[in-house]
Symmetry: D2
Subunit: 281 residues, 4 copies
């Protein structure tokens, strides 16, 4: 059985030795060990991928808590590959990120389940139909915001969703949802953040005359486009490119950057600390 353990705690001497000794004592074989110390914050991070021929998960977790976590003041989580995480997709009208994620999912590249696609518009139902995934049209307006958010929460609960991907979902996500899914809502913003946060970033980039455009995938927090960055990428542009060229080039960036971020999340390679990410890629 493959087990992934994520740990963070105050940095101290001897942690690595203690943790690796613990795994060894439980007959596990460490396949990957990634570790990082944030020296400014004095925080230690670790990701351990281990193989166990046989293991009693309950005992392992109890011992981890009593033998290690208490002593080092650790926050930890343990993940096995026995269950695929459930990923909800929120979209609006653009289909490029949706198509990209669905075709990866369909090819087995993304080890997730996709219980449903939700949109504030009916436009992309045809894509959901192509891939035979339930599509919920939940319109959103000033008037119905509360009811709509309740509908969203109800769907997420019903399908026991583990994390949410905003695949060019053009609406602010409510604090209620963010609190239900802390560090579990992944957004794609169509600029090289922190430049051009907010609406119409390609227009702003064109106006400023930049020579490179970008896309940024980040975890959603209450402050708009200011959450922990998971992945970024860029592409060159020139005076020859119009705003619609920016948008067209940007689409390719957006879909690739978002899918990379989703993969990192699914493989438990991301950890969040003080609004930044540690990415063990």
């Amino acid at each position: 059985m493959k087990i992934i353990i994520l740990i963070n705690c105050p940095d101290q001497k001897g942690i690595i030795s203690s943790v690796t000794g613990f795994i060894h004592a439980h007959k596990g074989n460490i396949v990957y060990l990634d570790q990082h110390v944030d020296k400014t914050a004095n925080v230690f991070f670790m990701r351990l991928e281990s193989d166990f021929e046989t293991v009693d998960l309950a005992v392992l977790q109890k011992n981890l808590e009593s033998q290690l976590a208490h002593r080092y003041k650790m926050q930890w989580s343990l993940h096995t590959d026995s269950k695929k995480p459930k990923m909800a997709l929120f979209v609006s009208k653009y289909n490029h990120c949706l198509y990209d994620l669905l075709s990866r999912f369909h090819s087995g590249e993304l080890p997730v389940e996709i219980p449903f696609i939700l949109s504030n518009h009916p436009d992309l139902k045809y894509v959901a139909d192509q891939f035979d995934i339930p599509y919920y049209h939940v319109p959103l307006s000033k008037e119905n915001r509360d009811a709509s958010e309740n509908k969203q929460v109800e769907l997420l609960r019903k399908y026991q969703v583990d994390f949410i991907v905003l695949a060019r979902y053009m609406q602010i996500v409510s604090p209620k949802l963010i609190n239900l899914y802390p560090d579990k809502i992944i957004n794609i913003h169509h600029s090289f953040l922190p430049a051009f946060a907010g609406a119409k970033p390609y227009h702003a980039a064109f106006e400023r005359g930049v020579k490179i455009i970008g896309a940024t995938s980040h975890y959603v927090t209450e402050e708009l486009d200011a959450g922990p960055i998971i992945e970024q990428d860029v592409a060159p542009v020139s005076h020859m490119h119009s705003i619609s060229d920016f948008i067209s080039k940007g689409r390719d960036l957006e879909k690739i950057v978002l899918s990379r971020a989703v993969k990192l999340h699914v493989l438990r390679k991301t950890m969040v600390y003080s609004n930044k990410t540690v990415i063990f890629s």
Copy 2:
């Protein structure tokens, strides 16, 4: 004789045909023709590189003015390769951009003259000495700002400087200088503008947790770090990199980006319009 002509004017039918016909009529052979139309602003831009076996420059310029410029409301400039432009270097304490530009100059890669290096600190005199170029130490403080700026202007005039390169010069350039050298002062800013304008951009980038850092070369205008962008480049970073790693990686970006911008300027491949550049590279 090689002649470069730069033109901009309101976009109209027939300009290219008129200009190329004009060159042909004056026995010139067009080697490169680059053209661009800014459709938002309705402005036409052209860069023509032509060979003339023999030409009377005064006549050519007079005819260009009377036969073309008047008719199309053109702004134009004409450049020959008979005289190398004079480039002043302003520096503070960092030597990487300075070394990079001087070694390119020394290798013949940059067809300029460098009459002097100016600094608000004495630290880099040894580099100037290595390359045998006059070094002027012009200290700058609140108290002596006016006198220092006058000293700068005096030097620029004395040496008939054509353009200025701020090779990590850590001082605000005075409006007086900017007005004397419009679109002729090239700065390197150590961030991917417009993100992290102003002081300590690597610290701000680290704080924000970006996954890519950048450098931007631009023409200096009165608004800090907001002038027309000539060239940008980026490099990946991760949680493993400290601020000093950012600074170290950034140095390589800065020197390459600045030298590219300087080359584009020297080869007359840049045109400025509404705070943006057209780069005919």
Copy 3:
């Protein structure tokens, strides 16, 4: 009406002036002019995009031939935007390039018609069905090669196909097809050519220990993986990546590079000369 004219001819004085004068005389307005001289081969290339309010195409073409082409020994072609080119897709078992092209097509990003998808395997029929495009399964083996190629040619003729895209089609294309579609068959090879031509390039790249992998889109010629390169891109790899990581990262490169090449071809921005391309992007 928008008209694109592509020209190549021996380099001589006065061509640009003559061509632009010709367009002007026929009441056309030049929107873009791109030109290039291959100084080694002494060949002149030009791409002209012009707007005509009204134009008699037959007259324009006759005059172009008699007034320009004869004089300058030009090869030229003229394209209007009145008819979308017909693109056939050849695939085998991998679906990522196919999905990428079809989703772009479906979004209106690719101005083509796709009369059919052809494969030597039945596996990807479900994708064709999702997008409602005819799928022809034409098996290929040593024994049936001739019959299969005849079947291919028959389909291409029946549907009046203009160009062919090999979207990870894992078979050698026959010389017969190549001669029918010179510079009109676009392949994607999963390496940074000319490194790792032929079979299993990711395995070879892994074996060599490269730090960057790539993908290359090129026009198909009789020599395997040696045709004119249209577009290339790369991605970093490290010792941490296995061959299957190379393959996974490579998929993203392949689909982006292929789609860029297809777009350049469709927009008539590619010209081929002495086994190289001029790309007016």
Copy 4:
């Protein structure tokens, strides 16, 4: 005291736990731990950076050998920061890599000593003089090859050189030297290896019509341009670029890629195995 330990051995259970326990037992604090398993070759690699308040180096090394190395069949090396490695520079006529390395050295960016610069030409003596470093002109021809190589070895021994950097040294290095400095001679090749190995790679790249050029730094082995790759980087090119443009763009790649490779080597972040590198960056 900072101590870096590099280890490789057959992969087995419990290594990480044993090694980290060993460091802990000797009162060391692990600052960085990087580990990698080559699953094809079944080899385990580790780089440990540890702080020791006080340590008896001889005892540490003896215990490492008896308590760990024997048991796990390890190859290991131990490095302290108490002594800067001595780096010899070999050059021919191009100065860009030389200037780049010397200016980094001069700025304190490269923690090495440079006892001398050696060249088969007298041309770059002026650069050595600028930086006040001894310059040895050792001409090389068919006739004097043996004598010249003996002279090289003599100099390397006299100055107790630790590793050699070929900063565009345009001569084959003799097997004698390679055997004296296994995995300790760093070359920069001006192509994206394995494409365009050997002479005149920019000419070959131009001829092939590639859209991206590259540079590769590698350890020198007896087979030309086929040693373990340390670092690679690339830059876009187009039909507009002549061979001399390739060369000019390439210069920037070469100097940046070489300096990155040298830094990785100096910081003991490279390990070589079966003609590939593990780079713990």
